[in-house]
Amino acid sequence: MSDEIERHHGPSEVAEPIADPGLPVHQYRVTDVDEAQARRTERQISLMFGLATLLAIGFTVAYFAVDFETTFLGWSAQNFALGATLGGALLLIGVGIIQWAKKLMSDHEMVEMRHPVRSSDEDRAAVMADINAGIEESGIGRRPLIRNSLLGAIGALALPSIVLLRDLGPTPHGQATTVWKRGMRVVNDVSGTPIRPSDVEVGQLINAEPAVFFPAEGEDHSEFHGHELLAAKAKAAVIVVRMRPEDITPEKGKENWGIDGILCYSKICTHVGCPISLWEQQTHHLLCPCHQSTFDLADNGKVIFGPAYRPVPQLPLGIDDEGFIIAMSDFPDIVAPSYPELARDQKKLDGE
């Protein structure tokens, strides 16, 4: 056996420096020798159980007596009353039982011998013989046709079990586009009011949404609802910022995407999709609160720090007849976190 390379000394090989003195003499507790002390402990323990009973009753009283509005130290009195009585009762029962075990139950240590986990050689041989007999008698080795076709059939069962999961969801779609389109107004994300360039001051950041998320004039409901609205929002949320035009260094082709220093960027981080909202007026940096990716909005949303890789996409802006800010198209760059088909989808977008 390879074990012989290293010999782990057992006690027999090298004499132990100190011989095992054996189990120490049992120490009696006060409660073992003094009956009065034992009775006192008994009383203490039953006092705990008695208090626990009272607290359980107190819980019931509090349940009916303390209403939701009452506060205690600035926080729900009901929660405190129920929790304190229930917790106190449980704790007293637990401490009482443990005290009983420690102080009054016999504390004579017992010794039990261990046995090697390994079975005896006979048992092992018998098991091997049984397994062998089972294999022999089944003929699985002699009849490869049965064995192989059975393995094939069981393997084929993987198909139904995988295929059944197919309808968990649709195939990926629509990741490259958002609801933005040419002419859609950029509106305030809370009130839904459209924005004029004069509403935005230098250094200001406005959280905005596409107008389609709010009811059109004369209507009660918007086009989007419930989870559809959330899914659309998860891609279309934007921020509108205004910087001094001379601070901005637009890339080629993006010179006319802003209006007098007003630029619009996706609010969704290209890292894992948190809404990016921490805006530093002075540096024009936008910081994602989740993982601290930092984007320079004066420099085309470029990543200047953190785990994000792609710049935060920019939305080209324009102004409609009534003087409100509108989008000139959907995002030319794909918003939200990267996904495997992103490069291909982006190529398609660029080609259009």
Partner: protein, 567 residues
Amino acid sequence: MATDTYTKVEDTKVGKKAAGPVGWVDDRLGLAGVARKNLRKVFPDHWSFMLGEIALWSFVVLLLSGVFLTFWFQPSMAEVVYDGSYEPLKGLEMSQAYASTLDISFDIRGGLLMRQIHHWAAHLFIAAMIVHMLRVFFTGAYRKPREINWLIGVGLLALGFIEGFAGYSLPDDLLSGTGLRFVDGLIRSIPIVGSYLEFFIFGGEFPGELIIPRLYMAHILLIPALLLGLIAAHMLLLVYHKHTQWPGPGRTNENVVGFPMLPVYAAKAGGFFFVVFGFTALLSATIQMNPVWAYGPYNPSEVTAGSQPDWYMGFSEGLVRLMPGWESTFFGYTWSWNVFIPGVGGLGLLFTSLALWPFIERWITKDNREHHLLVRPRNAPTRTALGVAGMTAFGVGWAAGGNDIIATQFGLDIYALTWVFRFGFFIFPVIAFLITKRICIGLQHADSDRILHGYETGVLERSPDGGYSERHAPLPVAGQYTLTARDRAPELAPAQTVDANGVEAPHNRRERVRVWLRDKYYAGAVDKPTADDVHHAEEHLGHFEGHPSDHGDDFRGVSDAGVPKVH
């Protein structure tokens, strides 16, 4: 069968009452044979053996409080208009999941308490599992024959993380939605199949309307069932192997010394359940946990600054924050290393290395014996140092997960801090390893000194020529024995590259790597004194005490420990 003792039991009060029911049950189940072996099973006593128990009982608390919550919670993402008693959110559109969570908090008496107990117990469950696992690691309790139980434990911890995250996501508040958004980004980052997985798991584009019901199923059925099964297996193996124990007088690798299950451990463990439950109830009564009503319903275009996952996900979160923004495109696919490596790789690496460690160590040491005695961490310096290095890496990741909080609280530059953590993730564990190993070896030297030179009595003696020395006295025998009750280091044979006939052995290179690792593994550790050392020291101690001044010509002063340097 000792029939005479059985007769005696029948004559006792309990015997007369219980014989009937016990007989009835045994006639039908025949379990007396099993019960006879286990009812009075001996368990050793040590405070650190209680850590796993905390995990077990907090799991029971989770089951109880969880069942209560299911009576009202509605795992649906359908939008409703909130009409409950919490004024600030009245009239707002939100998912049914969030609305029913608010109902539990504000309209069901005791609902808020149960929600808080559930969340507190979840924290306790995972924290206790981690501390219990560290105890098992640092004392070597995972060694043969307990490797399978270690693997079950690693599985339990991993499932606990997933279970906790699923539960964190269910209320569908702004914070839990932000967590799901992260998971969505994480799934997307999986190479090639990421989009498909995302659409299948969320049932369409994020957030869809299926993820909450699906997580609910996983949270209350699938994962708890797995946890329950694995916990049962964990406990059965514990009973079957018998608990490990600390070495000491009369406590050897061949026996187990302690108190019987009935009545002492049944009472102590049973009582401890009430203590754990009571403790979580008191925490929930006094300390607010996850006030979902303050966050508002989920909205993918909003986030609160300082968004944090529950603490046990902090390691993963931190790695995601530390990772540089790497992304590449090849074979027509986008590969998001910036999310995939830390998000999937971090926890993957953690759990894989935990699962493999017992087998790696056994391969390195070739130690094939059964171990039922625990090892003090100092007596396995390399293992202990590796453990501390791992904890340090975990800690750096964890701290990095709160880098924004640290930066704002201490007025530090967040970018500089991130750079410190980026390098620190690799450097700090190495430093921790080196320091820990030195501390362990130092402690081993101290143990040796205490055996060979006794302990410091605090009695100073002045010799006629003015020198001071402290008198040492031998430790009690039981203490000496306990200090020496550990394995002697094995003989480290050089790698055998050729066999007895001079033929090159197969797996030559692997064996050389193993021997190199083995030498590193044992390097520096102080072996325990031999019988000769102790014999010699005894003479010396007696000698020193009897003749404090007569040092002879070769006396060269006294060492720091008060022992003459001649020795």
